[in-house]
Symmetry: D2
């Protein structure tokens, strides 16, 4: 019973079908018919004109996104535990040619306007310090917490006042939207560019970059090619993304994952590090307790010495989740 990562999940059958349907000669790179449909598909999803490009990893999506918001000598305010700071081996700095991550505090890896303001307040020495040029937040956060519309609005207002771009790492955007029960546009709020995750949510190796200012798309196209991410048979990535969008499969998958996480949470109760608002569950467990769960066949990740992380995916069997919840409750 596997709760290690949603990266370990399978590819959804409809995604497989879409990929196989794409297996006919077409123009290379992103000149094929499917890639050309992405802008329209995401414009429909967000009810406004956007540009959308496929990329093959969330790290690439985040890094390319930041190139549209920050110069090499600038800085990006993000949470101390943001994925771009902790888990991407400096990729954002690589793609932005050195822009610095300026670390803010906040419970559950969420930023607030106040926390962002505290970072801004420390930048006072002109050319001797890296100037903040953008903010990056994660929806749902690295601890599985969602940003509500009002929270996004406050951050957006600050960003606008201070002339800062706003990026959202949406590796689990689907889980956030499913949890919030709002339109996608509301869950994205006032962001300029969104990394829209698909791989963890039933895809194989495709995510999407959604640019709410379509004029930035050309810049990303050059940088994507320069990063070696313009795959020659891009139609297969477009097919995955479109299959997830079509008929709201992305939301169905996310709801299934969230539901499984809720089962675990129901058993973990007071052991929860944070409320479970998406598909990740952080549970306080002593080492012997973890060993006991593993002895019962549950696989999960040690977050730190006192906490285990359990992640549900679109294909997590509901009975596995129920069993894990019960097992925790029974410790």
């Amino acid at each position: 019973m596997q709760f290690l990562s949603d990266n370990a999940a399978r590819v959804h059958p409809k995604v497989w079908a879409a990929m196989q349907a794409a297996d006919a000669p077409d123009k290379p790179y992103d000149n094929d018919a499917l890639s050309q449909r992405l802008d329209a598909a995401f414009s429909g999803l967000f009810a406004r004109d956007v540009a959308a490009l496929w990329v093959s990893s969330g790290t690439a999506a985040n890094s390319l996104a930041l190139t549209t918001l920050v110069q090499p000598h600038g800085g990006v305010i993000c949470h101390r535990e943001a994925h771009i700071e902790m888990d991407e081996c400096g990729a954002p700095g690589f793609y932005t040619h050195g822009a610095k991550l300026l670390l803010a505090e906040g419970a559950g890896a969420k930023l607030t306007a106040d926390a962002i303001g505290a970072v801004l307040g420390g930048i006072t020495r002109g050319v001797h310090q890296v100037p903040a040029q953008a903010i990056s937040i994660t929806q749902a956060s690295e601890y599985g917490l969602t940003y509500a519309a009002a929270e996004l609005g406050a951050i957006g207002t600050l960003a606008k006042e201070r002339g800062l771009g706003l990026h959202m790492d949406g590796a689990r955007f689907a889980n956030a939207v499913a949890s919030l029960g709002c339109p996608p546009a509301e869950a994205a709020g006032p962001v300029d560019v969104l990394s829209f995750g698909c791989t963890k949510n039933g895809g194989m190796d495709a995510d999407a970059l959604v640019l709410f200012d379509p004029a930035q798309a050309d810049l990303v196209r050059w940088r994507r090619k320069r990063g070696g991410h313009l795959q020659s048979k891009g139609r297969f990535l477009a097919a995955q993304v479109l299959a997830l969008i079509d008929g709201d499969l992305w939301l169905d998958n996310a709801r299934a994952a969230n539901a499984a996480a809720a089962e675990i949470a129901a058993g973990a109760k007071d052991r929860l590090l944070y409320p479970v608002e998406a598909n990740e569950v952080f549970v306080r467990l002593a080492a012997p307790e973890r060993a006991a769960l593993r002895a019962q066949g549950f696989q999960f990740y040690d977050w730190d010495d006192t906490t285990a992380r359990m992640v549900a995916a679109w294909d997590t069997p509901q009975d596995h989740a129920v069993a894990l919840g019960k097992a925790i409750a029974g410790l």
Copy 2:
């Protein structure tokens, strides 16, 4: 009848089957069982200990390869028409943090020890000039020509004498090996690192980087992650590469493509820009002649004002190739 690019070709059924067999939960990134098999598979292929990593594009493969051979202030000698110079939008410079491509001359986009020596001879002013640190050659070349063992040996000797690393862009390495009829190790010659193409040869979105000095693999692993190329479900890329290696499918596919190209060449005769040694055919054709061929249903690429490029792939129907050869002969 499509001869635009081998990028436009389909994915081989055995590759599809291998990908679907990989669709079960396994460890993420490259910790899965399939990814762990790559070193052994390529060590067998080249009859020596090598390290091999999957990447999702040839541009990424070439760029990551060069990071093992050149420092940011160094230079890479390559042909004026090399893919890394002409078609990768500066990606090699991006990944190497500025290493310069030092351009050499040579018929058919092939380098010789003499042409490399001419570039080296112009580097005389110490710290004021970018120092050459590596050489990059393409097997088969951008005009579809192969390097024989003696040619590679001469380049390797020069590289060793001058302390230069040696990279081979093998986007069509399979076609070269099939054409040369030699063991893969002989077609790679004395290179330090090889970009081993799969995508054009029946794969979907996977190439391999083969490091003949396995000690360099760790560096590439860091840089691959930093470039956003460490896909979380890497098992699907490993599956593609392994499917092509298993049972020499890669060579069967290349032989089929080469045979189709030979049919076209047989009709083009004196119109050929270069002998056809792999799966690309460059044919001198005036504009009205090209229009006539297109009117007969043949699709191909205008290389320049006087030359058309026709590329055969593993799935090019033999009767299409025969028809194109005859159509050219009949002009």
Copy 3:
């Protein structure tokens, strides 16, 4: 008798005096009174509002200049023998984070609109090629040739039509202005940013970057600091630059150097590789002829197997120049 380089020349007494006058406590970096005077001094010189910043080398000036005109994925059209291509060890690529130099042809290291157009004509493959975003020319050129107003105008028109920025490497701008006998603004023509050389012309270690769009100055200030070029006692660099501007010392110095070069040219006659329009003289000399001159006490640089380069400076004794001219004539 030294004709190796104007880099080997002495510091002008008025520059020394200005530096010593600056040796009192003042605000650090470029907040001192002298640094604050640069904008006005150069605005006066060019009869329009410009921003001007000191830098400590021509390579830094050129590299920082290009950061205002080109993005990391872009290209700069320059001559195949431009200083930025041949003599700066990749510094422009370092500062621009990888922008590529796109090499054009032209006699005497001068560009023409046609030569630039030929480079542009080869850029046809969209995102697969580095797009041209700027042009860089050298006034006087690397062979000591000047651009007249009409030549600059033609290049400027092309730049405007194609949306390209225009940079001028003016390491010997003083010598060009002295030679052309025109206002500085005319010798700069339609450029966006000018590297204004001082070190070769009586300074110690200061050049100036002149931004004809003052709005770009902030970007350069950040990048200058980030490059380690914001010296803490910047008042000494400002003092040098201002001393050369005050009373047109820069032109007096350049005229002296040009006059010395003219003496050499008068003796070299048909041996001249190019007309002598500034302070550099390129003379066809066989190896024994060079040896003969050296035996007479003349020091100069071997440009290549058949050509010697002799450079006059502001402090070249006129009798040394006359003697060299006669010695060449007497070979």
Copy 4:
């Protein structure tokens, strides 16, 4: 009475004299006789074979130093308030092509082996995190504290055990040596590369980079040129550095500055944020107290809301320092 910064101090008369003595034609760049003497001068100073190069700023010195110790994907452990983190606008990341500063804690901006170990302990996720490759410490620290031999030894032992390079930012190394009263080699301890400050200590615009592994010098020479820091009249920078070394002028100057700081400290007593071990004095002062001091003619820098920074230089008049000490005592 000026205590703003040692950057605001004057150039020592012996440094002026040395620069003027250097004002004769010599070979350009660092091929002149003075630049060639640096290795020997510093080898004498440190009683072992070292290589030494001039640079024109401390930021350049630090950044170039780090290029010898860390790869673009690596990290440098430094204090949260280190100059390289706080005051250099990302220059270290620029020169190292993205290496990340990994921030450690410690009183008075000093690192300990334990604090470094805490950072290392957080790096556990392989290729997903930036690996630590070097440590950077500041002698004297950003709060004017010195590292004793035993402290350096403990850090050096850890560095060796973990395969980390060790850099020392010695912008005020002279003040530290004067304070410690030990040989320079002991104050440098086990470092691999030292930024040896001169500009703040009587120089004009020259610092030195001291490489305890001389084999690294070539790399720095290339990178220095590539950074635009290879000044064409380098003899003037070499002259400054040599003038300070000759006859231990550097130590005389530092002792004078330290003595002036001690006078201020004597008056500040319990208001001191840290013991005064070099030439910087951090004094707790309320806003009205600062205003009172300024009304008496003292200039200094507001470090933060509760602390003022006063810096003495080689040329601080002793009576000014005494007066400031008394004024603080009299508050």
